[in-house]
Symmetry: C2
Subunit: 207 residues, 2 copies
């Protein structure tokens, strides 16, 4: 695997901005990839916010992929369990994929729990090494709110003793100490959360 | 995971072709992705041809990734062995990754043995479903030539009884019946093989 340099297509696009009919959009940014990792507890709202943001970015002409945790698990990381080691491998593998996409111009949204600080740090370092932008977003919904939402019924199952190892309840979640953005999803709408994230991208020259 | 539509960036780039200083290159094609899977025996020359082609494409401004079998194995598919089932899983996982890249505008070269016809067919179908271009290239170097080259010493080890399950010797290789291109790498130089592949891409509007 080798890094891809900035292409002439990028430069050509920049030139078009000055003369083309679509000057309202910053076309140069559309080929600037980035990984936006949304970490947080189950039912924190990670996936919902990711798809809300994805819709807006796509409308604006960005290439976008959402690496949905469950979908990835059924395919790319099938066979991995929920031990600390397997969770780490899962996050590294998704991080590998995200880096590959983002360094090729894709806005890659990753709504995946990623409970361990060292796993997230390793993913950040991989992006630093390849030169791809990487943003860590903590969807900081309190566990009390998450367990009431309980989108997948996991909190109920844990309470009933049917499952164990639920992140934030009887399995560790190491909250990021200094994420690029912390979203208090329980105090605002999904649209507001996605808008805050969009504003961060714009501030970093990525949207 | 969701498909990415053609972006306005693509159109902007096309416009630039008419006015920019880089009109000698077909910039529209530079954002058209494709997976080029090079299947063949160990030491057939798959990786060498892939990197030769990658260099030319990169020079022309294409986004390019080479999903090198050994490198992928150490990371994305660690833990998989060489049973029929594991080889199938390996190929599907790499196919998943290649599809994701190619539908996002990347020329994705995959020099990976992929010994089973049904595994390769599943990868082709995945690309058809997503709308990404997919080309199957058979690097058809005869086993006698491969075992003489023996880049990784695998044929020698098998002959010495140190390993077993070597594709084309004591493990199956189902040669493609109608690949998009068959390369007789033993009758021509690496440059000639890569040029034949480049010509195919050009013919399909991909280079």
């Amino acid at each position: 695997m080798t890094a891809t340099p900035e292409t002439n297509a990028t430069r050509g696009t920049t030139e078009a901005t000055a003369t083309g009919p679509t000057t309202s959009m910053n076309q140069e940014n559309q080929v600037t990839g980035a990984t936006i990792w949304l970490t947080g507890l189950p039912s924190a709202g990670k996936t919902t916010i990711a798809y809300e943001l994805a819709g807006r970015l796509r409308e604006e002409g960005h290439r976008v992929e959402v690496l949905d945790g469950d979908e990835i698990r059924t395919f790319l990381t099938a066979g991995l369990g929920f031990s600390r080691e397997d969770r780490h491998t899962n996050v590294q593998r998704i991080g590998f994929l995200a880096d590959l996409l983002s360094r090729n111009g894709v806005k890659t949204l990753v709504p995946v729990i990623a409970p361990y600080a060292d796993s997230r740090e390793a993913v950040r370092k991989r992006h630093q090494a390849s030169g791809a932008a990487y943003l860590e977003v903590h969807v900081a919904t309190p566990v009390e709110v998450c367990s009431e939402r309980d989108v997948k019924g996991l909190y109920a199952k844990q309470a009933a003793g049917e499952i164990s190892g639920l992140t934030g309840v009887d399995d560790p979640y190491e909250a990021p100490e200094s994420p690029d953005l912390r979203i208090e999803s329980h105090t605002q709408s999904v649209q507001e959360s996605a808008a805050a994230l969009y504003a961060l991208l714009a501030e970093r020259g990525l949207a």
